[in-house]
Symmetry: C2
Subunit: 744 residues, 2 copies
């Protein structure tokens, strides 16, 4: 017989076991986290509040102080101020803000005018006397320009020499301009001195064109047509337009990186070529302002120029050669004492260590060296970069750590030919090529206050759009019009010709430090600046590379409260944050497909008939583009349904996104030029500043109908089409499922 | 007042809550796994039993059947048997065994002798008659060689032509041999026909040397000294030595890949160069056997050769030029009708999808095309590869799945110049370069039964050692001596000269399909074969590329029970399994440091004094090697303490290990030759079969004291040293902590 007590005990025990079991089940399955916390963090985007915290942290007043500091003194590459004072300052600052900092030094070829024997231009008379000498330095207009370390106007890497020759005017010195004189006007330019105006193309290309056409020397001047707007002739210091006493410095090197060590870094163990073994400009060249230029241009003989060649000096522009009477026997004289010298330059590299993927780098870069005070180029962006780094440092102190590493780069000797960035890209090529997510460049943060100007590889367009939608508009008038964000004014002032619902984003040429990243390493890149009113139709911001590019100019006439600087810094920081923190990279391959289609359509429009006439079609490249488009679309669909809890699945698709751009690199070089390797976008053959789409094909088609050997020329076209087709297929292969290679 | 009932209820409830809570705590903390099961699997090496299962699954009898099938008929590249029957067979078989299979087709330039107008050599007499014609085909010695699709002996890509000239004997046709005749004997070789013996160097280099020294044609014969051992003259079919009727076919192309599309794949959209635009051999060349060779060599005039030039024909070897009387006015005649033709070739690619890292590829490869029956080269390895793939397929069916993907490659047209593998490496370069762990090649599985022969990049030496320790010795006599494993006999018969405690592993030249992987893409590679007794001092296995390389030869005289084939297949499978399944790659960077030190020491021994005399030291490269060594050592220490539960930490170090070899690739090419890009190991400049350490430096130093411009020559040496130094530093940078770039 069983006692009720025993029954009760049994029931209680049973109940207890039940409860314990239920508890265990709840504990095991309902309450235990699916994932350990480190894995949870690994599969989460950064906290959205980080973006607001970063924006808030980036403050205009700090940028103003930075700019005042960085542009106080001239800081040309190789100078004490640049390579010691500023480099050390950035090093020490980043040591405080960031996780680490390192200085990379390279011994490279630089170039300077001789301070005690300055360059000039003059009219040389038969009797040997010289008149109308150009000014040897820019006039000091306000006391802040008066610094003993200002370097006089010159073109870097010009050979020294005395040139006497007949003056010819060749407009902007483009290849078409030279062709016009020699073909249409049947002029022979051998031994002449060309005077060309700044603008339209990279000045180094002007010099190379001059060499090609036999010129013995070149003068490059700034015409008011390209640097002054408005009828009242108000110029600096009253307005921001270029005064006649200002001249534009700048390199005329055709190549990028230290010319003594092509494609290898100028490290201690480097092998240096002799100067005579390398590609340097061959003819003496020097820049002048328009107060000087008018003295020569006004006396020129020859035909009157066509209207498109007409500048805004109050003279009759003539092509030459030589001068009108009574100067008809006079020559122009070029006196150049510019010299080359090997000097150490420095890159300062600051580092924030990534949390989960320290081996993935988001790289921000800006150069540090300026021709003179550099308050716009580059110090407006240096000031912004220092503030972005400070703000991120503050977030770090508050406990933030990005998923991926962030690298800040302060480049040396960009102005001479992207030397600091190129040498570093060469030295670090293997690790940068395999680890870098993107390179975000700002050469100039603020060159105007109208709208954002952006250039980017298509895969980053979406990032630019999205980030600019999050940055407050720096212009209160625009906000009043309902354009609250940077994006809104950008879209309103500069819609894409291709798709007016989106703001215009340009292609990347070779004008700044993104070139080594994009062109040599195949790293997706972008460059941003706040720019002036496009309707000005000027060649650059007026004071570009002159002594008047000062803190006074910026703070008094361009961005009084530094709100535009702040907006650019915020945009830059926001993009870096997004790339560093999102689990899935904000990369848009589908837009690359759209852009490829756009290029193809434009080639068909421009060359379709001509190609057809020569038995060439674009079927293969069209098919390849379709294959790329399909692969991009499928990848994005795969990403949408991806289980982001699996870190290796995430890494796999991110690697595909990261490496796609690498597939457009042809290590043999575009049109056999190994310093230009991106098959889709590369510097224009005749203008390194600009970008050329399908550059190999563009070069092959250029002026093709006037080439002597038509069979050979058309073979080249076919070869380039085949290379483009293959590159697009290769890029498509990187986007396809990784099992596709094996037929799955 | 509280009733006892209420107290009891309260107590029970409390007890229940306690029990429930205890249960929850147990469930939550004691029973919930630390890691979800997928993560557990992600951080575990493959089950060790897989290795034994794979070994057991790989069976000699299956390989025997495979070899019988693959070598039944001639299967030259471009033939029906090769490109249709065998390619389809492999495709269909892999479709059954593996997860996926795909055929990649390329349209490439091949070369054949004219079957109806065969090549020959003869003595041409003054009166125009021809005597002593060489045989136009190899004699059929056993019925199995009698097949209408046998292609007569020829050298691929030889131009067609009739050549009459004085015969000169140039030993092996090495550059030193040619230098000896022209320098020491002051002979002028212009217009002569060189007869050279096979061996020592790649035959294409013999032809190139002949061209360089002005020869008008070349005959390449097999001397018994290099292909017959033993005094009793027993040859095939009685023994495995080469009979006098056998001749060695082979390509004499200097480049790798389809010569019509250098560096781009021969896909549909390819641009094909004209034959006259490409580097093809310029002089007619044909191979003969020693029964024919003796007819010409025995009649030669000129000085008697030095002892090292003496072959084993029973004649007096003389250098020529021309013949002794009564033939002194006779010439040698070369009649070559070899022609080039574009044909489709196929690679068959089979695929096993990786479980956790499908985007990491372990690649196994072997070529499919043979000059004739190819029972050794390549079908011994094809037979082995098919068995490895079957065995892995069986493991898959039993539930195994590797961590990383495994790719099987059956290459077309290797014999012509690594064409199939090179075209695929070109087409897939971007994804292979970023995703491939290693390339494991077997060109010939069994060419003898004495010991393993291995060539590998230093990072894979340890893998080879460890895997060969796990494979049972195929030789019972060796086992009886206590050498139980393949490793034991390997070590006993071929210890490393550098470290006798380890077996010798050679360097990789350009003799097989690993060249595109290692030289173009920088993928760590190896090649294995079971070889014959080294003491034979023969130039290759005797029947190499002759019609006698049949199943009968292999199964009767070389590997009767196919145990050696089985051992190679097991070793191959074991290495693939280890690389595919281990969480951390079995890669040994520290051994690369050891090998770099070894190369440096050997250069110091050979050239130290000469370098010093010319003011050159090796301090920079020595320092770079020390830096590499340190980085390798630190990386391996980091790996030892790595938390392998974190998949991204694991991926990071594996990526470092995988990418290290890539850093040795110079995309500009070694000594400006873009088909040779590995700065540490590349094909020897004068012998593509062999490897040269520091190949750029070796080329610069070669014969330097006799170069006309000493200043320029020594500049080149300096440049090469600087490139090697930089490459080693670059490789070191890939091994350093990924935060090192930012000064952490």
């Amino acid at each position: 017989m069983v006692s009720t007590f025993a029954i009760k005990v049994a029931a209680a025990t049973l109940g207890g076991i039940c409860l314990l079991s239920i508890g265990i089940v709840i504990g095991r399955f309902a309450l235990a986290p699916d994932l350990p916390s480190w894995l949870q963090s690994m599969s989460s985007d950064g906290n959205p509040s980080n973006s607001q915290r970063l924006m808030k942290e980036i403050q205009a007043e700090n940028i103003r102080k930075n700019l005042e500091f960085f542009s106080k003194k001239p800081h040309i590459a190789g100078s004490q101020q640049e390579e010691v004072t500023l480099a050390t300052h950035i090093h020490d600052t980043w040591k405080e803000y960031l996780d680490g900092v390192r200085i990379y030094t390279y011994n490279v070829l630089l170039s300077y005018p001789n301070a005690s024997d300055p360059n000039y231009v003059a009219i040389w008379q038969e009797n040997g006397t010289e008149t109308e000498q150009s000014s040897k330095k820019e006039k000091i207009l306000t006391p802040d320009q008066d610094d003993p370390t200002v370097v006089n106007p010159f073109n870097a890497y010009s050979p020294a020499g005395d040139v006497l020759g007949d003056l010819v005017y060749v407009n902007y010195g483009t290849i078409e301009d030279f062709m016009y004189l020699t073909r249409n006007l049947s002029m022979n330019l051998t031994g002449t001195v060309a005077i060309v105006r700044y603008g339209k193309i990279f000045r180094g290309d002007k010099v190379r064109n001059g060499e090609t056409y036999g010129c013995a020397g070149m003068i490059i001047y700034s015409d008011p047509a390209d640097y002054v707007v408005g009828s009242n002739n108000r110029v600096f210091p009253d307005d921001w337009w270029l005064p006649g006493t200002g001249a534009q410095r700048g390199t005329v090197l055709f190549t990028i990186g230290d010319p003594l060590t092509p494609f290898y870094p100028s490290i201690e163990s480097a092998y240096y070529l002799d100067e005579k073994e390398i590609q340097l400009p061959l003819i003496p060249v020097t820049p002048i302002g328009y107060d000087d230029a008018v003295k020569y241009l006004s006396k020129m003989a020859g035909e009157e120029v066509q209207s498109t060649w007409q500048g805004k000096l109050n003279i009759t522009y003539r092509v030459g050669p030589g001068f009108l009477q009574p100067h008809e026997k006079s020559k122009i004289k070029l006196y150049v004492r510019t010299y080359n010298v090997k000097k150490p330059i420095k890159n300062v590299i600051g580092f924030i260590q990534g949390n989960h993927e320290p081996d993935r780098y988001v790289v921000l870069g800006n150069h540090r060296d300026a021709w003179v005070f550099g308050a716009i180029d580059p110090s407006s962006a240096t000031a912004a970069m220092m503030e972005v780094s400070r703000a991120m440092g503050q977030l770090l102190k508050d406990g933030w750590r990005p998923r991926r590493s962030i690298i800040f780069c302060s480049w040396g000797a960009e102005e001479y030919g992207l030397i600091g960035s190129m040498e570093w890209a060469e030295e670090m090529s293997k690790i940068l090529g395999s680890r870098t997510i993107a390179y975000l460049n700002v050469d100039v943060a603020v060159e105007g206050n109208t709208s954002l100007l952006a250039r980017a590889t298509p895969i980053l367009h979406n990032l630019l759009h999205e980030a600019s939608k999050k940055v407050e508009n720096p212009n209160p008038e625009e906000i009043a019009k309902g354009r609250r964000m940077v994006y809104d004014t950008w879209l309103a002032t500069n819609p894409s010709a291709f798709d007016p619902a989106l703001p215009h984003i340009g292609d990347l040429g070779s004008g700044s430090d993104y070139a080594p990243f994009l062109q040599i390493l195949g790293i997706s890149s972008l460059d941003i600046t706040y720019t002036y009113d496009k309707s000005y139709s000027i060649s650059s911001y007026p004071m570009y590379h002159s002594v008047y590019e000062t803190y006074d100019l910026v703070s008094r006439l361009m961005d009084r409260d530094f709100k535009y600087h702040q907006a650019v810094a915020r945009l830059w920081g926001e993009m870096a944050l997004t790339l560093a923190d999102n689990v899935i990279l904000m990369f848009d391959c589908q837009n690359y497909a759209v852009m490829l289609e756009k290029i193809l359509a434009s080639i068909k429009t421009s060359y379709g008939t001509l190609l057809q006439k020569n038995g060439i079609n674009l079927d293969d490249v069209t098919k390849a583009t379709e294959e790329f488009k399909k692969a991009a679309s499928i990848l994005h669909k795969r990403i949408e349904i991806l289980d982001i809890k699996n870190p290796l699945d995430v890494r796999r698709v991110n690697d595909q996104l990261m490496q796609m751009e690498r597939a457009f690199i042809d290590s043999l070089g575009v049109a056999s030029n190994p310093s230009v390797r991106h098959v889709i976008y590369a510097p224009n053959q005749h203008n390194s500043y600009a970008s050329s789409s399908f550059p190999g094909l563009a070069a092959a088609l250029f002026d093709i109908e006037n080439q002597p050997n038509q069979t050979e020329s058309w073979k080249k076209v076919k070869k380039e089409i085949s290379i483009i087709t293959f590159s697009i297929l290769s890029a498509a292969s990187t986007l396809k499922d990784v099992n596709d290679i094996g037929g799955l």
